[in-house]
Symmetry: C2
Subunit: 349 residues, 2 copies
DNA sequence: AATTTTTCCGTTATCGTTAACGGAATTTTG
DNA sequence: CAAAATTCCGTTAACGATAACGGAAAAATT
């Protein structure tokens, strides 16, 4: 089986034209008569041409700059997970000629996001990864990107603009539903506790809202009589957290099931560990270092993780493929694994 | 920040030599005086040279042929999962100039493995992926590969030969331990059932033995008084399977927990579904199509999956990187995720 | 000292694609 | 019908690394 690669030269010969013309057809940059165009396309079809990516990239000297716009690790440990993903993506794509530049912003500071967005635009990247926190401003950004024909990829969540190249994230509603199953372990539960963050109480956009919905729907279907209590804690005030939990469990000592829908289950770990002795079932989200440690110690039973590092890596890969190889991602919307982590499998993640 | 790539020419100039000499140093193929050698290496250090992979690959016309030696899908559905992984790996590496050829063998037929091994050697590949089934013969093969300086990667399991480039597999003992936790859901269980395959009864090498060990150790630690029963079924005889289970549950109607350590939990699904009504907890391994269907229907509660497709893909990637880019894998032994699949998260895998 | 070897190094064609350049052929304009 | 403008196409020099080739210089052999 002689698999001699067919080259531009082969096609040119078969079409009775020159490689210059063939190249013009391939990149349809005009200056080719209809008749020649068809001859070339026929030859390509006949010979099954596959461009040589090395020759192409070498000759064109194509370079790509990909901007990654995410909340800064300083504004919470969740996003520091993605650092590693950026590193891996950088390593994988660097030899291709891709540079990755991270631009982070304070996820609680709208003005800072505006600044970061402007910075991204100013560097005229060939692709942008966006983790949206501010709906309205993100919309503005992506519209501008669309106008400039700069492809962009959403991770974690997305906003209502359809011109994105791809999206990588967790199915939120389903993760809540799954969480219900894991917390109750399939049994009926009489009374359980949801711990929430104080600032989300009146927050207009709680990103975990649909997760909570999925959870409640699971309960309604599988544990109909269940009573659901909520308490609100202040992430910056451990004393308040302790107080709130003390109060709740003094009144409701029978509650055995505790869940949080954001990534901050570690906030209640100190209380749990100083009030050990009761058998409890605790479920949280995301493999933050602090969460994983609590899981390993047995304070937390299950974490549902979405691995933001993988999301970033895939997002960068998609943009790199687009910029360097003109390849579109296989799927536009990519819902990622919901990994169930217990103390017994966590060390292999 | 001017990041003009430094080329061979830059180095040659700085060293006061020609690119020919620089190239000889880079690939240390001799014919260079000690003094020149050092001048070149100094220049490389000074300028921070990074070879241009496209120019290199284009010029050298390097090609790689990677052989994948795995049990045939016909000998059980487990290995057909890896097909997809081969496909993905092929797609990813083909543009680099890598061809992948699968060679499969009947995992119950020693002679067939010998034939397949010979076939692999005859095609003089630049790398081999091996899923070992026959210990002794695999040893023979890899020793020969080592002699011929052909790198190879183990997947699924490995044999006692240290010259492998990498290994990708599941930690078997730990997967059994995890399985114990998932089957009992952390509670004490009085009596449970392990279903095994008849042919493994006296089989000298049951690949799931250490998984069973991990399981038993979990029980000893967390459910000490638990009684463990075993039954043996014939995978080719549904009637026998039914009979065996009927008999067992007539005598032990109180048993609620069932587990299998190989990938064939689907074999007992028909019995489970025609004997529904009792609340049972069923745990198995691997995301075979039949298993996943049973999971979705609720007949099986949990699957622990190792995703052979990922293993193959990573193995091929490692060999491709080695053959085409002279890159060594980051880690030699790679233990993969143990994914916990329930009906609620399975569709995202 | 003349020769043969050996050591060492520079020159160069090549890989396949890209894109600038310029020229021929054709069409439009005056 | 000549001049000007288009349209269309072939030629060619990069891109950076590879490795074959041959030649100069040094060393070893007579």
């Amino acid at each position: 089986m002689k698999t001699e690669k067919t080259t531009l030269m082969d096609i040119a010969r078969r079409a009775g034209l020159s490689i210059g013309t063939v190249d013009r057809v391939l990149h349809n940059r005009g200056e080719v008569s209809r008749k020649s165009q068809e001859k070339v396309m026929q030859a390509i079809r006949d010979l099954g041409y596959e461009p040589n990516m090395h020759a192409s990239l070498l000759s064109s000297g194509r370079q790509a700059l990909i901007a990654v716009l995410i909340p800064s690790p300083a504004s919470g440990p969740f996003w520091s997970l993605s650092e590693e993903g950026i590193g891996r993506a950088a390593q994988a794509t660097a030899p291709l000629g891709v540079t990755i530049r991270k631009v982070d912003y304070d996820q609680t500071d709208l003005d800072d996001f505006r600044r970061a967005a402007r910075q991204v635009l100013d560097m005229a990247p060939s692709g942008v990864v966006v983790a949206p926190m501010f709906r309205h401003e993100t919309l503005g950004l992506v519209e501008e990107l669309h106008r400039r024909e700069i492809p962009f990829v959403f991770i974690d969540s997305k906003v209502e603009n359809d011109s994105y190249l791809a999206y990588f994230g967790m199915p939120m509603y389903e993760s809540g539903y799954l969480c219900g199953d894991l917390l109750t372990a399939g049994h009926a539960v009489g009374h359980l506790l949801i711990v929430r963050i104080l600032s989300d109480r009146h927050g207009q956009s709680d990103p975990t809202a649909s997760r909570r919905e999925g959870f409640m729907d699971y309960l309604a279907e599988h544990s109909p009589g269940c009573r659901v209590s909520q308490v609100f804690i202040d992430p910056d005030d451990p004393a308040q957290t302790r107080q709130v939990l003390d109060d709740f469990f003094k009144e409701n000592p029978e509650v055995r099931h505790i869940v949080m829908f954001n990534s901050r289950i570690y906030l209640i770990v100190p209380w749990l560990e100083s009030n050990a002795g009761t058998e409890r079932r605790v479920v949280g989200f995301d493999n933050l270092e602090a969460n994983v440690e609590a899981l390993t110690r047995g304070t937390v039973d299950i974490l549902i993780a979405q691995h933001p590092d993988e999301q970033v890596a895939l997002a960068v890969q998609a943009l790199s493929d687009r910029a360097m190889l003109d390849r579109e991602p296989a799927r536009k919307d990519n819902f990622m694994h919901m990994d169930i982590l217990t103390r017994y499998n966590v060390k292999y993640y």
